[in-house]
Amino acid sequence: MLFHTWPFLLFFIVTIAGFWVLRPTRFWRHWILLASAVFYGWWHPYYLLLVFYSTALDYFIVGWMERGPRLARPGWRMAASVVGVGAVAITGLAAPAGWGGLAAAIVFFAAMLEVGHWLRSRRAWLVVSVINNLSVLFFFKYAGFAIENLNAVLARIGAGQLPSAESLMPPGWEYVLPVGISFYTFQSMSYTIDFYRGNIAREPSFVRFAAFVTFFPQLVAGPIERAKNLLPQFAKFPKIKPGDVSDGASLFLVGLFKKVALANYLGLYVDRVYGDVATHGGASLALATFAFGWQIYFDFSGYTDMARGVARCMGFRLMLNFRNPYLAVSLADFWSRWHISLSTWFRDYVYIPLGGSRVGNLKLWRNLLITFVVSGLWHGAAWTFLIWGALHGLGLIVNRDLEQIAWWRDRCPSLAKRLVVFVFVSFAWVFFRAESFGQAVQILQRIFTTGWADPQMPLLLLLLVVSVWVYQFIYESPLRAWLEKPPMKVALAVAMILWLLLFAPGGGEPFIYFQF
């Protein structure tokens, strides 16, 4: 279900009504859980199996992690487990074609759990959780990519081919990337890691924990919430003040405008140019590249604004995920403003464990590169995403060195720095948007080698984007108070409402980040 569609409006009205009616009882959390299941199952009911598997896994593993060291090692349990796993394995081997993959997966997961029970240490349980979560993510997101590349290598050496990922699905089950799998897997996993590190306490209630992981506003595209921020909000019914509702509605309106009026409009231009790279000249491709930078920003930040708005109307506070990233004066600044929940996730769970920045230069470069390559892969299973991540890693390394130069650090105008960052980020987006590495190279080649004919970018589109950019500049300047004057806010809201009602193209275009 998409936020900017009519069914969501109906769904939200029903959800809010039930949420409010159930507030004196303890069932409001069950209601949220049910609503989240409906919201998520709207795409494909079988997705629910995965999200609840991930949720249950981390809930129980943290429970075992807490109790593990105190448990005796019951021999009968081990015996039963071995027999169980063996039975599943035999069933899997004997199963008709197509069911073997599922049986193998069950055996694998069961075996992992048994290993955890056997070793009974917090670290073992952490490893079991991470392997389990990443295995599911790997299968649905990366198996196709990995098998394709392995098969290419095997073909080169004349070896047999691996079966496709699709063939491992049970008969009648479609092999599709479950919407938002990267988001909820990371959210659920962070709970286990945080508990392991002693940063949070175990959540005793499964319903509360499941409501936290599956909370529908942020389930499919974030923000990737940390248990420390969101889980306590499920402890008791939130205090919903009038300001929460008006703030939530404001966030939703801004997000809706970003998505429907800006992102979808930009998308039409980008699709036109990127859909036929060979016939477009340098100016068109360069402008379409910049346009894509804005499209993905409006699309994704629009989604998170709406998510935060919906949650806020229910009295929940989700973290800020975007803070005008195209005003960043350095690449590090950019990553402190772009997809904040993901960049902080990688900082806390990958970069810092690798040693962070308190190491020598070589190790620091290694840490940055690893973190950003992994971040690139998080976005998608393709070499283009890996290159996109690597480019950002390299960019950060160069940026750090630039910051050592006094002129750059102290005298270079911030506007120039912002433009440099914007141009770098935009050109990196080429790898993100292109359908293949070859197309990305072709686009970059054509930008610099073909004539700069009229790019035919609509004036209206240009005016809209420039207006937003100017707005953001003013917002982060001493003139901000001017934007916060009530008549200005009301005028902006009215303008957005009228635009949406009268000029927005129809159709619920999906969000770009849903594919991650």
């Binding site: 069914p7 036109r272 960043a328 004036l459 209206l460 917002y475 902006l492 009228l498 129809g506």
Partner: protein, 378 residues
């Protein structure tokens, strides 16, 4: 150098309205949204030419249709129906309403739309024909829509058809209509909220049946494409003329399409026909007639005529059977009706659309009918 980005920023925009500001914004927005269509009527010239019909290019502009009905004089008689009334093969001055007017000295207005069928006609009159009340209305009934399950929209296989925004979105269920819930809800809302219909009117008339942003990106259909609207803003755009229909090479006595149907198929066409009980189109037609009657309209239903020349014996028999069911129902509902006899073969362009001569003859035949004259008060 002062770095402006270092100041604490709690969010990415200042648009955080308080409850009071929201009330102001919503009040202003709603006021503007409801006022704009009204004000637009004063701004946008609409002076229909004699024998006016809604131009073909604006067939989906239901706001214009409503406006056309709204400005009819009280004594004008709207002739409501599908493309048979609208005049698929004829010019705007070669349709049934024109010849009825000529024969009777009364003002008959063409209130047909191209591409309609009873399920859509019901939606049109229900949601955009509110002004059809307490007046004489001539309602055409085209039985061709009941002549096979596909035309009756009974098949489960998805079909692409005209005017999907006018068919029932949820109930009664139309099996071949497979729009997703978002589209259905959007359409259901659009036809209930005038500002949204008006926005659609702007799209239809000024932006080539697309939104203003899409219009700025539209190509001119040539190869390599050119983009004529790139540097234009969507204001002051000259759109499709509303008050008259531009001459079309596809319609009118001089057009290549305006010719008798291929009589070589005479008596060969087999039509399955659906039963009146199961027919979705017939049910919709009955709802429509009752609705108009309920609004105080003095109805006269004209059934057909269909081109029976092309039908084989069995098909003709089923057609007659359906006609008698229709007659029985209209009688039971005390709705006056006329079932004119079939036109000469050469005056049909296809299974149901007459040519200009056919309309002229049909008008004369209707005028000669006592029921018609009584209904007209002559």
């Amino acid at each position: 150098m002062k770095d402006e980005t270092r100041q604490p920023v709690s969010d990415s925009a200042a648009v955080h309205l308080s409850a009071r500001q929201w009330l102001c914004a919503l009040g202003l927005s709603l006021g503007l949204v409801w006022l704009l269509p009204v004000a637009w009527k004063a701004f946008e010239a609409f002076e229909p030419v004699p024998h006016y019909r809604v131009p073909y290019a604006l067939s989906n502009d239901y706001w214009l249709y409503d406006r056309w009905l709204d400005q009819l004089p009280p004594d004008a008689i709207p002739v409501v129906g599908d493309s048979v009334v609208w005049g698929e093969y004829t010019a705007h001055d070669g349709t049934l309403s024109r010849f009825l007017g000529d024969a009777n000295g009364a003002l008959f207005a063409n209130a047909g739309l191209n591409g309609l069928y009873p399920l859509a006609l019901w939606g049109l009159i229900e949601h955009h024909g509110g002004t059809l009340a307490n007046r004489r209305v001539l309602l055409h009934c085209n039985l061709l829509w009941m002549s096979d399950p596909e035309a009756d929209m009974q098949l489960a296989k998805e079909q692409v058809f005209n005017h999907p925004a006018l068919v029932p979105q949820f109930t009664p269920r139309v099996p071949c209509y497979r729009a997703d819930p978002d589209t259905r809800l959007g359409r259901a809302l659009e036809r209930r909220l005038e500002p949204l219909s008006w926005a659609r009117h702007l799209q239809q008339t000024y932006f080539g049946q697309q939104s203003a942003p899409e219009w700025t990106l539209a190509d001119d259909g040539t190869f390599p494409p050119a983009y004529p609207n790139t540097y234009r803003l969507p204001v002051g755009v000259s759109g499709i003329p509303l008050s008259s229909e531009p001459p079309s090479p596809d319609r009118g006595a001089a057009s290549g399409r305006h010719k008798p149907w291929a009589a070589s198929q005479s008596g060969q066409v087999n039509m399955e026909w659906v039963t009146p009980e199961s027919s979705l189109q017939w049910q919709a037609y009955r709802r429509l007639a009752k609705r108009l009657k309920g609004r105080g309209c003095d109805l006269l239903v004209v059934v057909g005529p269909l081109n029976e020349h092309m039908m084989n014996g069995a098909t003709r028999a089923k057609h007659q059977e359906f006609r008698s069911t229709v007659a029985t129902w209209l009688d039971a509902e005390r709705i006056r009706f006329v079932m004119p006899e079939i036109l000469p073969s050469e005056e049909f362009a296809d299974a149901s659309h007459p040519l200009t001569k056919g309309y002229e003859r049909l008008a004369k035949r209707l005028t000669a009918e006592p029921v018609f004259r009584a209904w007209l008060g002559q």
